[in-house]
Subunit: 167 residues, 2 copies
């Protein structure tokens, strides 16, 4: 599609500009990883990003994905999402949005509500904390797990491995 190509080129150009501004060298790997992030609508783990890239090109190592994402986070290009600790998830740093976290399957989806974008911030004089950003995390059950929950045992938890693959 022409649109797709166009948006890719736009992204590429914008990405180059951003790297210039931030003073970080633009490498092929960084561009690939950045595009891989943009193409996903969910909040992938390192492993998911790595696998997505592998399907297309060879020659981006897992260690590089880790290092590049760390660079991106420090530069503010992407945000690290607070997750259940089993694996970090990432989010291209776009609009101000919030998160719905399923306590059953640990999936994370976005949620936007204008009213949540004007919350009172912690008072720095009082807390000593300098707020740069915030996000509301709603915990509960996603649609799918509500159905599953209805027919599974009370305390049972969906059996998934740490990387989300089924056993």
């Amino acid at each position: 599609m022409a649109d797709f190509q166009a948006s890719r080129n736009e992204n590429a150009a914008e990405f180059r500009t951003r790297c210039r501004e931030l003073g970080i060298p633009l490498t092929v790997q960084r561009r690939i990883i950045f595009e891989a992030l943009l193409e996903r609508k969910d909040h992938p783990t390192v492993d998911e990003i790595f696998e997505g890239i592998q399907k297309k090109v060879q020659g981006v190592s897992r260690a590089t994905v880790y290092r590049v994402l760390e660079t991106f986070v420090q530069s503010g290009i992407v945000r690290q999402i607070y997750s259940d600790g089993s694996a970090v998830r990432f989010d291209p740093n776009g609009s101000h949005h919030h998160h719905l976290v399923c306590s059953h399957c640990n999936s994370v989806s976005d949620f936007e509500d204008e009213r949540l974008n004007r919350l009172p911030l912690p008072n720095r004089d009082h807390t000593g904390f300098q707020t740069e950003n915030y996000s509301v995390y709603f915990e509960g059950l996603c649609r799918r797990c509500q159905k599953i929950g209805a027919k599974s045992s009370k305390r049972g938890k969906q059996q998934i491995t740490r990387n989300g693959k089924e056993r």
Copy 2:
């Protein structure tokens, strides 16, 4: 102190009651781990809880700490905190509160504001998500890291290992 003892006994009694209600056997280890959590005002990792216990008594294994905390989370006795993915943190499930997360040192502290306790929830009909709880995560710099940041390099990040110990 008498007060300290009293509160310990109160906790112990309350904990026994809670276990009864939940139908989970009350073991020594569970009581110790629960008390270890209550004694801390921060949001310890499994490792921190384990070490805190080891200083006092022998005979609680790391695996037990993991398993007991998992039980606690499933029973709703404690909450798992969304954190940076390197290690899960826990919180005794008390009042509705929010979190200040330092993007520099990853410390987590509590924040309460009455106004944050009446946020609009995601509409279930619309999102399919059944909200059970929520918490606002403020990201920024804690007091200590603001000072450090002032004298450290622009992109430098505090050197800490994954378990928070300095190198």
